[in-house]
């Protein structure tokens, strides 16, 4: 690649188009913070953040060249590679998964075996975590449960149409808590504990882009890391940044989301953005065993070299990539959502 701090050929900053998974919200606070706080500019990058939506596959934008980097679950990288896309993860943002199945306490669900015969709401792309759990107990998701394609809200769950519903801790779970008017308690099943979690938000690009722009990638990762660290240390600032960039987002919800998202990154076991072989293997196995991908995945699907160089460099001003002192805010949902 070119030398450090060099811009594009004409001397201006390098342009990057980053496409998110969904509309602007605290899930993406780190990128907005990096842009807002000038971290990208410090690295001589001109980053455009394109929000996602319900009806676009960012991987396709990557392939078409419309975007340079997209935020997608790592599982999608594997399925897309099998479909023939040369996509690759250059950094795992969420070390832990936020995906949960929620249910009311009066359902008497002690463990996965109790799911038999229940109505379960799932989202496309997240089924493997649940299929794997069924598989672990010798059951089959299609045969032993009623699967429904779930919408984006939790009304169906709260109204009792779904026994178990998919929920992200930073989003739908809070909605369920906020909307729960009964005195029943909402419980969660966490695939991380079952060992059937697959990796979520990842920094994804194409092999060819990465090969052509190793230096830009490095600078991007570094600036983004500073963004997330900023959000860890100054959640209120990041909430403001997100609200300023979003469309009429409720503040209380973004506060909750910022806090939950921070919990997915911090404290970091393997260092910020790191995707270890072990993490890879767990996701790859689940997807393969439950037929989401038909041939075993390859380790070409992630490349940590740029991440390693970017974060170890002395150019990384704040060096705490582990955040062992991280303390999440203590938020009471009932109080927060009134």
């Amino acid at each position: 690649g070119s030398s450090d701090d060099s811009g594009s050929a004409d001397g201006g900053p390098d342009k990057i188009k980053l496409t998110l998974q969904w509309v602007t919200q605290a899930q993406f606070a780190g990128y907005h913070a990096a842009l807002d706080q000038g971290f990208y500019a410090d690295e001589n990058l001109e980053v455009t953040i394109q929000p996602g939506g319900p009806d676009i596959n960012p991987i396709q934008l990557l392939i078409s060249g419309d975007s340079d980097i997209v935020i997608q679950p790592f599982g999608v990288v594997l399925t897309s590679r099998e479909a023939g896309a040369d996509v690759v993860s250059m950094g795992q943002v969420f070390e832990r998964g936020a995906y949960r199945l929620v249910y009311f306490d009066d359902l008497d669900i002690g463990g996965v075996p109790d799911w038999a015969g229940k109505t379960i709401g799932l989202w496309g792309g997240f089924e493997p975590k649940v299929s794997a759990a069924f598989g672990k107990f010798g059951m089959n998701v299609d045969a032993d449960a009623n699967i429904f394609s779930q919408g984006w809200d939790m009304v169906a769950f709260l109204d009792g149409q779904l026994d178990l519903a998919s929920a992200m801790t930073y989003n739908e779970y809070a909605q369920a808590l906020a909307g729960n008017e009964s005195d029943r308690e909402i419980l969660m099943w966490d695939p991380n504990e079952e060992g059937t979690a697959t990796l979520e938000d990842s920094l994804v690009t194409t092999e060819s882009w990465l090969a052509a722009n190793p230096d830009i990638a490095e600078r991007f990762i570094r600036a983004t890391a500073r963004g997330w660290i900023h959000c860890r240390d100054n959640p209120e600032s990041c909430i403001e940044i997100v609200l300023a960039n979003g469309t009429a987002l409720p503040r209380d919800f973004q506060t909750w989301q910022m806090n939950e998202v921070n919990k997915l990154l911090w404290p970091s076991t393997n260092g910020l953005f790191n995707l270890t072989d072990g993490m890879y293997q767990e996701t790859a196995d689940i997807l393969y065993n439950y037929g989401v991908i038909e041939s075993p995945a390859s380790k070409d699907s992630f490349d940590m070299s740029h991440r390693d160089r970017a974060l170890r460099s002395e150019k990384m001003p704040e060096g705490d990539l582990y955040g062992n002192n991280f303390k999440p805010m203590d938020l009471d949902p009932r109080e927060l959502f009134g």
């Binding site: 969904w22 929000p51 676009i56 939790m154 909605q175 209380d252």
Partner: protein, 290 residues
């Protein structure tokens, strides 16, 4: 022939002389219509409250009408008046709708006329158009974004795509309904296709074409909103709908407010078309179409 081509005379205004209804009367009828619409809105609101009362539905599913309306006075997290916020977003959607509607209408009229005129075009094109019409827009939108980018072009294409069909069908059907006797009349004058289009077919089909246009006007708003979904644009009712849906549980009123705003925007579009129709045709009996 050269003297009488399409440009030389306003097609509609002269074609329809409203002998029986002076402008004042038509205006009064229009106002009455608006009043009735308002009355019906009040009735609908009352029914809503009654239904809520009788079924005992909670505020989450059915907020009170006044609660929904009062939400319009609240401020967003960016300290903006919510009504103003909605208006701003509606305006951005309206612009896209209007462009799509105009383009779609132009295409629709042309296609409708060609279909009614030529067996070849009718037979060859109609099934294709119908097939295209059945393409689920949500499935094709990502592909459109890939080819046309995330800019305004995609929005226009989606809106055009939705508006084009009703205009096409109405135009074709309207022209096909021209009575044989009238065709025969113009035939004996050796009228060219273009002349009989201008003098006979368009005037005759106008009432039905305007019905199609009304549908198209409504669809144009729907199209623009759908087009705002695939990539979360920063502006537009589509984005607001998405956000309000996501946070429905904490704030049900927001979704109702934005849904109402979409309706109002659509109604403005449709009523504008109807107003144009009213002045172009007068309350001409639609039954003459047959």
């Amino acid at each position: 022939m050269s003297k009488t081509d399409l440009g030389s005379e306003p097609v509609l205004s002269e074609e329809f002389e409203n002998a029986y209804n002076p402008i004042g009367e038509r205006l009064r009828a229009g106002i009455r219509q608006i009043l009735v619409a308002i009355l019906l809105l009040v009735i609908a609101a009352t029914l809503w409250e009654l239904a809520k009362l009788i079924t005992g539905t909670g505020d989450r599913t059915m907020p009170h009408v006044w609660d929904i309306l009062s939400f319009l006075g609240s401020t967003t997290s960016q300290n903006e008046n919510y009504t103003w916020f909605l208006v701003k977003n509606a305006w951005s959607t309206a612009k896209a709708s209007l462009i799509g509607l105009l383009v779609g209408t132009a295409f629709g009229l042309t296609t409708g006329i060609s279909i009614s005129r030529s067996k070849l075009v009718g037979n060859g094109l109609m099934p294709l158009i119908v097939a295209a019409q059945a393409v689920p827009i949500v499935a094709i939108a990502p592909a459109l974004v890939l080819w046309l980018g995330t800019g305004g072009v995609t929005k226009t294409v989606i809106t055009t795509y939705l508006t084009f069909f009703p205009v096409t069908v109405a135009t074709a059907r309207g022209i096909q309904s021209v009575p044989q006797e009238s065709h025969e009349l113009l035939r004996t004058y050796g009228a060219s296709k273009r002349t009989s289009l201008r003098i006979l077919e368009i005037p005759f089909a106008s009432p039905l074409i305007f019905v199609g246009l009304e549908t198209a006007a409504a669809f144009s708003v729907v199209g623009a909103i759908v087009a705002e979904l695939p990539f979360g644009s920063k502006e537009g009712l589509g984005v607001v709908i998405l956000t309000s849906w996501q946070f429905y549980i904490t704030e049900p009123r927001a979704l109702y407010c934005v849904a109402l705003t979409s309706c109002v925007l659509g109604a403005i579009f449709v009523l504008s078309v109807r107003l144009i129709a009213y002045f172009a045709l007068g309350p001409r009996s639609q039954g003459e179409v047959l």
